[in-house]
């Protein structure tokens, strides 16, 4: 059976969902923010430095290891659960900050006649990538806790780097091999020609 009806149905449903967005309100967790208003908004200033330093502690093993060593299983279990909740709250704070940053940008840009579509598209893509990353991280932290999430992310990034290096080596090696082959071929041709 042809896929065309399903394609058009998907498109229609997507449009219906988009219509729902026309009338939707802002996410509840993001409604209260000092700089945001219904009118134009300025671009929010930078981070609270304490929150930034705090985030390092949340994902650090040191405290968890100490509590596990010196307290009961119940205390350490409770501590880990609290740290997971804190990690998720921190992630929501980051997403909230970025959400209001982009909101302020869009509200400022929409009135600017010098808007550059290419820059806007790039920014949109960056924002989308951030959303995907943060949502994946949220899920991972929710599932396995901040410490294991940190280990997993660290491992994934190292693996990605290793794969990239391997690919670069392969490409370089492949290029070298191809170059050698080409050289051999041309040498053979030259010899044949001279004979």
């Amino acid at each position: 059976m042809s896929l065309h009806p399903y394609f058009f149905s998907i498109v229609s449903v997507a449009l219906a969902l988009s219509l729902a967005f026309l009338w939707r309100r802002a996410p509840r967790s993001f409604t209260a923010y000092p700089e945001a208003s219904d009118g134009e908004a300025s671009v929010p200033s930078g981070w609270d430095p304490l929150t930034s330093e705090l985030s390092v502690r949340i994902f650090n093993r040191e405290d968890s290891d100490f509590v596990t060593r010196t307290a009961t299983w119940r205390i350490s279990q409770s501590f880990r659960a609290e740290r997971t909740a804190l990690a998720l709250q921190w992630l929501l704070e980051v997403r909230r900050h970025v959400y209001f940053l982009m909101k302020a940008h869009r509200r400022a840009a929409r009135r600017d006649p010098d808007l550059d579509p290419v820059s806007e598209l790039r920014l949109g893509i960056d924002f989308l990538l951030f959303q995907i990353t943060s949502r994946v991280l949220y899920l991972v932290i929710w599932l396995i806790g901040p410490l294991h999430a940190a280990a997993l992310v660290g491992y994934s990034l190292k693996l990605a780097a290793a794969l990239r290096n391997m690919t670069e080596d392969l490409v370089t090696g492949g290029t070298r091999v191809a170059a050698d082959l080409l050289d051999n071929e041309s040498e053979t041709k030259n010899r044949a020609a001279s004979v």
Binding site: P5, A108, R110, D112, P113, P117
Partner: protein, 252 residues
């Protein structure tokens, strides 16, 4: 009998909309939309006697009128873009770049099909032609809705109603034209009821949202925002990258 009742209801609602537009002085604000509506009313009023008295020519009359309606519908889409983005030159600039892309994307399908099919004849496959034109309208509406959502463009009740109603109408027409072509008799048995009912729903929505004039709300301009776009984009990009890097570095 029931389809006839729906047809008459449609005529009545269209008339109410036009009368209300003149009474409430709304006509001058949405000229192309009301011209479209007047055209639809004229078409529906004309086709009704043709359907009952000369059924043999009804099919041809319908498709020619429908084609005109599709073309006028494109005018409605153009007007909604113009009105929605009138006070937002930045968003309008995005639309100027995105629209042609969407238009080319949607129309390329028509040309590809015409190129690949030796049997493609515009007059003979009118259903497919209308469907393809409706796809173009849908793509443009989708682009408009995406822009409105992305830039949080405030719309008044009137414009919201026009966009919402027209989008539902185009979507239902597209479903009709698509499934009717593939599912055949079983679908065509139900659709004479479903599509007119959906159209009545659209007309009632327009009656509700276009009963009186309500333009887009005025927003205060914040004097702090008198910075150029490049600086704004640069600051935003930097902060976004900082947030992204902070996210990954903290977790690592």
């Amino acid at each position: 009998m029931f389809p006839t009742i729906l047809w008459l209801m449609g005529l009545a609602l269209e008339s109410i909309l036009l009368v209300r537009a003149i009474q409430g002085n709304i006509l001058k604000h949405y000229r192309v939309f009301y011209l479209y509506l007047a055209g639809i009313l004229f078409r529906d009023a004309t086709l009704m006697p043709v359907y009952y008295l000369w059924p043999n020519i009804y099919r041809y009359a319908y498709w020619y009128c429908e084609f005109l309606a599709v073309v006028m519908g494109c005018g409605v889409v153009w007007e909604t873009y113009k009105l929605a983005l009138a006070r937002y030159p930045g968003a309008a600039r995005m639309a100027q770049n995105v629209l042609p892309f969407l238009f080319v994307l949607a129309t390329s399908r028509i040309f590809v099909k015409a190129w690949n099919s030796p049997h493609w004849i515009p007059g003979k496959t009118t259903l497919e032609t209308e469907r393809d034109l409706r796809v173009v309208q849908m793509a443009l509406l989708f682009g408009l809705i995406a822009l409105i959502h992305y830039y949080a463009i405030p719309l008044g009740r009137n414009l919201k109603g026009i966009i919402y109603g027209f989008t539902v109408f185009v979507a239902m027409t597209l479903i009709h034209l698509t499934f009717g072509n593939y599912l055949g008799v079983s679908f065509r048995f139900l659709w004479p009821y479903i599509q007119p009912m959906a159209y009545i729903f659209v007309l009632m929505t327009w009656c509700r949202t276009l009963w009186s004039y309500e333009g887009a709300p005025e927003l205060e301009i914040n004097p702090r925002l008198e910075i150029d776009y490049q600086s704004l984009a640069s600051v935003t990009k930097k902060q976004l990258r900082t947030a992204h890097n902070h996210l990954l570095k903290t977790i690592r």
